[in-house]
Symmetry: C2
């Protein structure tokens, strides 16, 4: 009762790496830094990842690649989120209400900072897109002026 159904931890490191487009070295490095460890190990010592582990790695990658945080900052974010997860499930013997509020506040603040950052990044991308389209128009002009014709491959909308 109250126990979460355990996911099987049967994914090997190479499989996870391929799925996420990262190297096995990267996954071992994240583990070395304490960011994600596989949920299990085989008797022989090789890593066995569960889906939750994979999701955590995806999360790390998003924070790193899309938002540009370094691994130290990401570690701190994960810690805050982990503390909240503990808080959410731990009803008896939990921390004091004051401590709970502090943890929750930390997560809310983090969430708001991230939302603001994502908003700024989107603005930057919109600016770049506008620039690129302006350049594309200028390329057309040069082509017309020189009497050259260039081949336009369809630009995929996503």
């Amino acid at each position: 009762m109250g126990s979460v159904p355990k996911q099987p931890a049967d994914l090997r490191i190479g499989e996870v790496a391929r799925r996420l487009g990262v190297s096995t070295r990267t996954l071992r490095y994240y583990e070395e830094l304490g960011l994600v460890a596989p949920s299990d190990r085989s008797p022989g010592g090789s890593r066995r990842y569960a889906e939750v582990d994979v999701e955590r790695i995806v999360h790390i990658r998003e924070l790193q690649q899309v938002l540009g945080f370094d691994l130290d900052q990401i570690g701190q974010m994960l810690e805050a989120e982990d503390r909240l997860d503990v808080l959410r499930t731990e009803y008896r013997n939990g921390p004091s209400a004051k401590r709970q509020a502090a943890i929750l506040q930390e997560c809310v603040d983090l969430n708001q900072r991230l939302q603001a950052l994502v908003g700024r990044k989107m603005g930057q991308l919109e600016g770049m897109l506008a620039e690129l389209k302006a350049k594309a128009r200028r390329y057309e002009e040069v082509a017309a002026e020189k009497g050259l014709d260039v081949h336009h491959t369809a630009v995929p909308s996503r």
Copy 2:
């Protein structure tokens, strides 16, 4: 006649670094790699940047930080764009029409790849924003459930 009005190159490296939020080391490193050199030097040997140089650095930073290219790839992109700039201004003794078309085609292709990449990145950011908002709602729930109240600072829209 036909000469572009020369911009003054009077910005010192520290000033440029402060304006762009990079280190002077970064600017010297980009120069070492051949990505941007200051338009001029003082008699004593210290770097003097012009506005065009600053714009080029901004461009490099966007490609690197927003789109995630490494400096080698960025160097290749800048080369393609530089060749087009030469093509655009060089009317006599210019390359053959065939060569011109090839250069222009290269730039058009690059532009289209970049537009596609920006589109994908924007999609990723939208996904992250949706996730963050979902999380924020769950934080609200936990707060309500635990009878805690958290402080919401206004999230700046940009």
